[in-house]
Symmetry: C2
DNA sequence: GTTTAAATTAAACACTTGTTTAGTTTTGTT
DNA sequence: AACAAAACTAAACAAGTGTTTAATTTAAAC
């Protein structure tokens, strides 16, 4: 799939991503972006129309291929619990290596200020939920998963756990002695991912 | 415990809380606050020194008594799993009825911009974690809880689930048909809280 | 009732914001 | 080489930013 953005636009988008993620949308100025990207301040308006539309373009640029990845997972020949584990891994991996944009989505598109631009994002979430539902219902049909779980609340547990961990990065770096970026990333890839998988598995299979 | 703020300051703090929560710290101007609170724009500087220090005061104003509530819970005569359930309920209830400030904490104090003001907040979190540890170790000693859970990751699961749900409020309102504020709040108090309790219980007790 | 401190105000300050304009330079096409 | 479209620029724009100032009103103390 070819991108609709040219090199210069992508350059701007990626600088904007970093800065929005670091300092928020309102905390980042166009002059700020222009300086870091080494472009003229007028180029943002020239290429994207406005700062607001730059944000929209950024969302499109970064979230366009998640759906495909999920669809592929669904069609793999795996046990439901394995699919769940892989889905969790996929989510964490993807979000973790695209921290910027997900942080932005998390922050900017949940405030009242930007409720309008919400639609495309909402469609993405609905699609993701559908995929999860398919897997879980498969597990329930096979008698492996319990049937009294509220499926739409599982995503908040998966993503919320990750986000809450990541948003308190300095706290956990200190607490868990994750001195380098590598140690931190490794902790997410192993311990945190495993914790989430363990949690969801316990929730889906446990019988009181 | 008496508050250090006078009526006028509290009035300003509460308006600021609402606006910061709605539009973010950078998205809210002093003139904005002054208009809603019906005060002169100079009063913010007069009473708090600066916009930044207004935010600090707001944190102090809102988080000062959580520690006591947790300490009380610890000393109750309950089974560990009951204490966990109550702790979850306490967290959700408290955060849910102080949404503003927690949203602000969540947003503002996790961005690189405000890393300095982090210390007091970090102490609060450490204290909370200590309380949770105490309860879980008690359960482990009694042979009720499994011992291979990573305790510091449980808080992210509890709070993260709630936050992720709440930050996607419009999405879940639509999905779960929670047309009124009452329905939404009730869903949190019952279904969401139960989901989190069920999840944590499964995680702590489940034996593969 | 006068004095003194606190509370409140309108105006000004210097600075930053997003966007537009009117050019200039670069690039590609014929 | 000549032209046209695209890319790029510096400068200006009006509006908004947080903070300070100097003056005025209100309240408390004596």
């Amino acid at each position: 799939m070819k991108s609709n953005f040219n090199d210069k636009q992508i350059q701007i988008l990626e600088v904007a991503e970093t800065l929005f993620a670091e300092k928020g949308f309102d905390g980042t100025s166009i002059r700020n972006i222009a300086k870091v990207a080494k472009i003229n301040i007028a180029m943002v308006s020239y290429y994207f129309g406005s700062k607001e539309r730059l944000l929209e373009s950024l969302i499109v640029y970064r979230t366009s291929d998640l759906k495909n990845q999920l669809d592929n997972l669904l069609q793999e020949d795996l046990e439901p619990i394995e699919k769940i584990n892989k889905l969790i891994e996929l989510y964490i991996n993807r979000i973790n290596s695209n921290r910027g944009i997900y942080r932005i989505l998390h922050f900017e598109f949940t405030s009242k200020k930007r409720e309008q631009n919400l639609q495309a994002f909402s469609e993405l979430k609905k699609g993701n939920l559908k995929s999860l539902e398919t897997i879980i219902e498969e597990g329930q049909k096979k008698g492996i998963f319990r049937k009294d779980v509220i499926i739409p609340l599982i995503t908040p547990t998966i993503l919320g756990t990750f986000f809450h961990f990541h948003m308190n990065k300095p706290f956990f770096e200190n607490l868990l002695n994750l001195k380098t970026e590598d140690l931190y990333n490794n902790y997410i890839k192993t311990n945190l991912t495993k914790h989430i998988q363990q949690t969801i598995k316990a929730l889906l299979i446990y019988e009181s």
